[in-house]
Amino acid sequence: MGKKPKIIWLQSITCNANAHSFLNHPNLFSILSHFSLQYHPVLETSYGLKDLSELKVPCDILIIEGAIREEGWKKNDIEVAQMIRHYATRASYIITVGTCATFGGIFKQKDPKKISGFCFDNDKKTFRYDLYKEKLISLPGCPIHPEWLSYLLLMIQSKKKIPLDGMHRPRELYGYTVHNGCTRNEYFEWKVDTPGFGHKEGCLFYEQGCQAPYTHGSCNKILWNDVSSKTRIGTPCFGCTEPNFPKQNFFQTETNMGIPAQMPLGVPKRAYLMLAGVAKSFKIKRFSQTLLEYDE
């Protein structure tokens, strides 16, 4: 890698939201000033798609956005998978941005047998994994948060070691659950359900389908658009960073005998049930009241 690492941002089967999310980085251009942006799907770059498809653009960091199919997804008369193979072989780092590129995501659903993530197909490794595992970094999320990618790029640029988990996700971003930092945590602790959608009060884990307690991500630590997150404004977490995204019935919690079917990450069911039983045996007045009322 030269002084300014060369970035290619290559799109496969995607909605472009990762590119647009990153365009919302408040320090976008100072971050990009450390790199040479060779190709990008929205911003003006030194090379065009024609150059890219002729396989002649130098590349140090390959950013892949979108799900992959080996055949049947062409740009400028060349299979996108072939373009990716070419640049992936030459790049020093491969970053899969978004859940589609990482695990298959939404666009895998169209043709689950033929469409997958780049190195993972849900939580299974694809044949590409062994070819690229040494330089692979996974950045799942539908879409990614701009800070996640800038963190990664600046770590690479400053030649720092990035701790990764088994799925090649940076631990500093995905070592948390989305539940971590949620403003509704008190209600979770005391097992107080929200009365329905549109309330500041109550937890969304028991009925509304919230997956935050078992979803890897830092949405409630690094806030979205610098101000908020899904759970803070009363929308359940849909588990969009997870290998099995998208599940069915996003707005309903799957339960067994009234207990959420999936436990918070790493928590044994026995431990959960015991604590829940104790918490529920107390009726704490404050948690049954609204936080504040506006007079007419």
């Binding site: 365009l23 919302n24 908020s228």
Partner: protein, 433 residues
């Protein structure tokens, strides 16, 4: 008669498109527009719970995802009502939805202006300013989506709108914060985009007063007028608006003659060689988008402009940037009108019809967006999405020339034609879904 065919790739339009130009005696006679990337969102929705559409359909598009969310919920609410459920949204929920959608439109228009139009126009005319225009897009987009996320949790890909209202329950802390962000964008609009204060801008009602505009918008208008580009890109001079919003009433117009529309007459048809379907109303093509909204709203300034330039790129570009001012003004007004003691959501999710069909139209950044769904036994049987770009960028039918194709006919060069094409604010991913 000398015939030539030239194939060109248009990129950085939320994906790509292939244009095949047929020149006859040095002038564009016809164009074929091909979008190749069908991703099958409508199929993915089949068999799912209708509420899942609130999560899946925003993923049609990274730049207008919020409009898809609101179209989806509007279609489901329409279906609930058709299925016998009676309810009325609170004004609070209506206003918050309108506010966040307005923010998305502003985000889109600013990016189109600073990332697409200005650099392309500078390149076409060879008048590079050397400025980092995308930096300005980044500032507006970052600031306005922050205001959006205060209510919607995040942008892109929020799912905070649910049947019966919205999931957020804001306090005045959030309202004041959003109001201040709108002020910040207004300040930017005044100082950088138009060079005059907002009230003076909104007071402009004649074509000649446009000379008082400065800033980037003033410069672009000057470049268009002094280069004779202003009159290019005229099409059928037909406009349609399917969504209901404060920007414009629902309706259609042929030049300035306005009439009603009925959503049942909106249809799609397959196109040879393209993965995109053409959208039409009773078999006729109409332009959708900011220019159509302004024509239907009978905005005085736009009518004055239209009198001179018809549906040219000048009118089209003007209407889109003009809409930023209208939306900012409306956003301020909405925040002022918000009454937080009203309920955010009036429906109980457990009580919902199991069989219904519904449709929902909204005015997205690029024009009218329509979602239709049929639900049987609480599962989606059929889901249909008709996007704005399916109207503007359709190929020719047997009877008619497509809107963008007609706008490119008669031009002498492909660079000029591609610029005209981009004035429609092309979105490849939406066109093919």
């Amino acid at each position: 008669m000398k015939k030539v065919r030239i194939k060109e790739l248009v990129e950085k339009i939320e994906g790509e498109a292939e244009l095949e130009f047929d020149f006859v005696d040095g002038v564009i006679d016809n164009v074929e527009i091909n979008f190749g990337f069908y991703r099958g969102i409508e199929e993915i929705l089949q068999g799912r719970d209708p509420m899942d559409a609130l999560v899946i359909t925003p993923r049609v598009c990274g730049i207008c995802n919020h409009a898809h969310l609101i179209a989806a919920v509007t279609a489901i609410e329409d279906g609930y009502k058709n299925g016998g459920l009676e309810f009325e949204l609170s004004n609070k929920a209506k206003y918050i939805r309108e506010f966040t959608l307005s923010c998305e439109l502003i985000q889109n228009h600013a990016k189109w202006f600073y990332i697409t139009i200005i650099p392309q126009l500078e390149a076409l005319l060879g008048v590079a300013s050397g400025q980092n225009h995308p930096l300005k897009a980044n500032y507006i987009s970052t600031t306005i989506t922050k205001a959006l996320a205060i209510f919607a949790g995040q942008w892109p890909h929020s799912s905070y709108v649910v049947p019966g209202g919205v999931t957020c329950d804001p306090t005045y802390l959030e309202v004041v914060q959003a109001d201040s962000l709108i002020d910040e964008v207004i300040r930017f609009f005044e100082q950088v985009v138009v060079g005059i204060d907002m009230q003076t801008y909104l007071g402009i009602d004649t074509y000649n007063q446009l000379n008082t505009l400065e800033g980037d918008f003033g410069r672009v208008l000057h470049l268009l007028r002094s280069s004779a580009l202003a009159t290019l890109g005229q099409s059928h001079d037909r406009f349609i608006v399917l969504g209901e919003s404060s920007l414009a009433p629902r309706g259609k117009a042929v030049a300035t003659t306005v009439s009603n529309v009925d959503l049942r007459y909106v249809a799609e048809s397959e196109q040879k060689g393209s993965k995109a379907k053409a959208a039409h109303y009773k078999g006729k093509f109409y332009e959708v988008g900011p220019l159509s909204r302004a024509m239907l709203a009978k905005r005085g300034l736009i009518k004055s402009l239209h009198k001179r330039h018809k549906d040219s790129i000048f009118s089209r570009i003007f209407a889109r940037i003009d809409e930023i001012a209208l939306l900012l003004q409306r956003a301020k007004q909405i925040l002022h009108l918000l009454s937080l003691d009203e309920p955010s959501c009036v429906l109980d999710m457990k009580k919902k019809p199991q069989n219904f069909s519904g449709s929902g139209a909204v005015e997205a950044a690029r024009g009218s967006l329509l979602h239709r769904l049929v639900v049987e036994d609480s599962k989606i049987k059929n889901y249909d999405i008709i996007t704005p770009t399916q109207w503007n960028l359709s190929c020719n039918s047997k009877e008619e020339t497509g809107i963008a194709i007609k706008a490119m006919q008669g031009l002498k060069g492909t660079d000029e034609a591609k610029f005209v094409f981009r004035t429609f604010d092309v979105c490849s991913v939406c066109t093919t879904q």
